[in-house]
Symmetry: C2
Subunit: 246 residues, 2 copies
C-alpha cells in the first residue's frame, strides 16, 4: 500500500530532510512515527532533500506499508506522535509507480526577507534580515534574465560528496512580492534545482537590489559558470519548500 | 535622562513582562542588558504588563539613566547583549514627565488565528489553531456590539492578587481581517484593557464565529457581568501587543 503525504515542517532544529548521524532530521522523525503507529520499519522518500535549517510547507513524501490503513486515521495518529514542528498536512493513497522525486514536474520555493534596521523577533527564524534598502525594480529586471533554461553552475554550490551531472535547469517564474512595508517574498518556480540554487538565486537578487551587483549582470554570470561571481548564498532559515507539482 | 523605547519580543519562553521569581521575564532581561551596558541598575516601566506567552511588536517602556547616552548607540549596544527574542526597535529621549502606562491614550492588540484541519508548524507559537470553520460575518456583527464604553467585567478574569477598581473601558475598533485562506487577524483597539480582556474578546468572537454562541449575545453578556457566560479565554500565544498610542 503506497502512501503520498504533504508534509510541513519548521526546519530550525533539524539537520535537513535526510537521515544523517549529525543530528535530528525530518526523515528519521517521520520513520519513527510510522514505526510507532504501524510497527512497520520504512524510510520515506521525499521530493526534495531540504538542507539544514530550511523549512517546508509542501514537501511531498512517499512510503509503503504492508498492512492497510485508512489515510485520515493514519494521518491523525502520525500527527499525534510527531514532534510539534513536523505535521502531516495531507495523506492519501498513491499509485504503485508514484515516485516523489522522479515524478516531480516542478518545485516552488519561497524565500522570505525582512527589511529595516531591527528585525522583529518572531521573524528571526523564518526570514533573512537584510537592513540595507532594496531596489525592487532592479531585482525584477534581473529576475527576468534568470527565467528560461540555463546552465546554473554559477548559482549552485558543489556538494562535498557528489558531482552534479546535469547543470541545466528551467526556471519558469520568479515573483517578487512586497508583503508589507517590512517583508519581501521571492517565489521561485523551476523544473529542478541544483544544490543551494534557490538560496543562491535569493542571494544574487538581494545583492542586485542593494547595488552590490548590477541589474544586468545575470547573463554574463550564468555564462561564466563561476560561483564566486554570483554573490552570496542566502541563509537557510529564509527558505521554504512551498509546493511540488506533479 | 529619561529614555522611551519601543520593544518587540517573542513571548514564548517568558513568564510575561513583569519581574517574577517564577522564571524568565522581559523586564529583568532588559534591566540586565541596561546594567551590562551602562553599569546602572534600573527597572524599566512598561505600557502593558503582557502575560506569560504573549508577544509584543510595540511595547513601550521607560527608564531613567544618570549618565548621558546617544540613543542610537545605546540601542545598538542593548540589542547586542539582549537575547535574540527581545529587540529594542526604537530608542529616544523622553520628556521628564513621560510615563508609559499613565500617558497611554489607547492600545492596539492583534490576535492571530490559523484555520484548517492541520496547523502549519511555523504558526504553532504565534497563532491559535482553531479547526472548525468560522463565520466572519457573524463575528463582525458581534464585534460591532463590543464597540463603545461598557463595563467589561464579563470579559475579564480576576487577578489572584488584586481587585479591578474600574471595569469601564472604551473599545474604539475591532477589525477582523482575513490575511489569506488560512489566517485570521483580529485588531482590537481600546483606551484600556482589563486582565485577559483582549484574549476574552478573541475567545467570545471565535465562539460566535463557530456557532457556540449567538451573534447577538454580546450586549446581554456584558450586562450580566458574568465571566462564565462569555465563552473561552483564547490562548496567550495568539496575542500581540501591536501599538501603544500617546
Amino acid at each position: 500500500m503506497i502512501f503520498k503525504a504533504i508534509v510541513s515542517y519548521d526546519g530550525t532544529r533539524y539537520f535537513g530532510w535526510q537521515k544523517t548521524r549529525m543530528g535530528p532530521n525530518i526523515q528519521e522523525k517521520i520513520a519513527s512515527a510510522i514505526l510507532q503507529i504501524t510497527g512497520e520499519q520504512v524510510l520515506p522518500e521525499a521530493a526534495s532533500r531540504t538542507d539544514r535549517g530550511v523549512h517546508a510547507e509542501g514537501q511531498v513524501i512517499q512510503f509503503n506499508l504492508n498492512k492497510e490503513y485508512e489515510p485520515h486515521r493514519l494521518q491523525r495518529s502520525l500527527n499525534a506522535v510527531l514532534p510539534s514542528d513536523i505535521r502531516i498536512a495531507r495523506l492519501e493513497f498513491a499509485s504503485a509507480d508514484f515516485h516523489p522525486t522522479l515524478d516531480a514536474l516542478a518545485k516552488e520555493y519561497h524565500y522570505r526577507i525582512s527589511l529595516g534596521p531591527v528585525q522583529e523577533p518572531i521573524d528571526r527564524l523564518y526570514a533573512w534580515h537584510f537592513h540595507s534598502p532594496l531596489d525592487l525594480e532592479k531585482m525584477k529586471i534581473a529576475a527576468n534574465d534568470l527565467i528560461g533554461t540555463h546552465d546554473f553552475t554559477a548559482l549552485s554550490n558543489e556538494r562535498s560528496n557528489e558531482k552534479e551531472k546535469d547543470p541545466l535547469c528551467k526556471l519558469m517564474q520568479i515573483e517578487i512580492d512586497c508583503m508589507d512595508q517590512g517583508h519581501l517574498q521571492l517565489k521561485i518556480t523551476g523544473n529542478r534545482f541544483l544544490y543551494k540554487m534557490a538560496r543562491n538565486i535569493a542571494g544574487i537578487l538581494v545583492y542586485i537590489g542593494c547595488g552590490k551587483l548590477s541589474q544586468d549582470c545575470i547573463l554574463s554570470i550564468i555564462a561564466s559558470r563561476d560561483r564566486k561571481k554570483a554573490g552570496v548564498t542566502a541563509p537557510a532559515h529564509g527558505l521554504f519548500l512551498h509546493k511540488v507539482f506533479y
